[in-house]
């Protein structure tokens, strides 16, 4: 009791390291600038003033995977495109998160065909799935809120 009070008087706050890191991470989710199909247009709208993704600190779309924390996979992923997406994912530094945006990225959607990947989760781990064809911008905001909750529960013990 006494020591915390004295530290506070000195301008020092004690807390748990997990809490500080998660607080920083969840408030600065930088997504990759990257789109595959029609879902990408809805994703771009989310950045605009009406939906204002900046409220959640996720408005800084990065042109380089090396500066990004969040890979949003927006749209139909063909098998021809898959190696490029995997390479982008591998180039992102840890910690990193993935949102599967739309039915196609989640399951292949209506394209149950020979040339479409039947869900990006067959190749990379997905944190949040968003259903919809395409999902509204509100859905992306919900997904980001869910992801923030998920990040809040993470611990350094489990993830670097």
């Amino acid at each position: 009791m006494g020591i915390e009070k004295n530290l506070a008087n000195l301008g020092i706050v004690t807390t748990c390291l997990d809490k500080v890191l998660n607080w920083a991470r969840k408030n600065s989710l930088w997504p990759m600038t990257f789109g595959l199909a029609c879902c990408a247009l809805e994703m771009m709208v989310t950045v605009s003033a009406r939906h204002d993704i900046a409220r959640f600190g996720a408005e800084v779309y990065r042109g380089s995977p090396r500066q990004a924390d969040l890979l949003i996979v927006p749209g139909t992923l063909t098998k021809k495109m898959l190696p490029m997406v995997l390479r982008l994912y591998e180039q992102m530094p840890e910690p990193k998160w993935v949102i599967a945006y739309g039915n196609c990225a989640c399951t292949g959607g209506v394209f149950r065909t020979y040339n479409v990947v039947q869900g990006i989760d067959q190749y990379i781990p997905v944190d949040v799935y968003m259903a919809g064809c395409p999902p509204k911008p509100e859905t992306l905001l919900t997904a980001i809120v869910m992801l923030r909750d998920k990040i809040d529960k993470e611990s350094l013990k489990n993830r670097g």
């Binding site: 098998k79 021809k80 149950r112 065909t113 020979y114 040339n115």
Partner: protein, 153 residues
């Protein structure tokens, strides 16, 4: 030139190298023997009456029960006369046809697509590789006997 006039003109100048020419719903349809394709295409491009200077599309149709199995179809457009013509060539399963890239360079990717989707070879093509599917893909997906959902490895 109306369609009828164009048909007459084709009959007049190329009756020796084509098999038949008929009226289509939008433009004349010419059927050509495989070996005569390049001669006829050169005539269409270079003859001043025709001036078919743009290759609009190269595609193919699979008739699984028929011998020869495929039709390769060329859609050719004349910018000067604002006119179209459709040329058909029959190709056997596993066979091929002479590439028209030496006449219209724009046919290069169109022929690659037909090769990718149907497995029809184009002889003397400058760069005959798959264009839509990944390079190690083993099948030809627009053939009628290919299942829509693909073949499990």
């Amino acid at each position: 030139m109306t369609q009828q006039e164009l048909i007459e003109r084709i009959k007049e100048k190329a009756s020796s190298i084509i098999m038949e020419v008929s009226e289509g719903i939008d433009c004349p349809v010419v059927r050509v023997e495989k070996g005569m394709l390049l001669d006829f295409m050169k005539l269409l491009k270079n003859d001043l009456d025709f001036s078919f200077d743009l290759i609009a599309d190269v595609t193919a149709v699979d008739y699984p029960e028929r011998v020869p199995r495929f039709d390769v179809i060329y859609h050719i457009f004349s910018i000067k006369n604002s006119q179209r013509v459709r040329v058909k060539v029959s190709v056997d399963d596993g066979g091929g046809v002479e590439s028209v890239t030496c006449i219209w360079r724009g046919a290069e990717w169109l022929e690659r697509e037909v090769y990718d989707m149907f497995g029809i070879t184009f002889y003397n093509h400058p760069d005959l590789r798959r264009i839509l599917m990944e390079e190690d893909f083993k099948y030809y997906p627009l053939r009628k006997d290919f299942p829509l959902e693909g073949i499990e490895e």
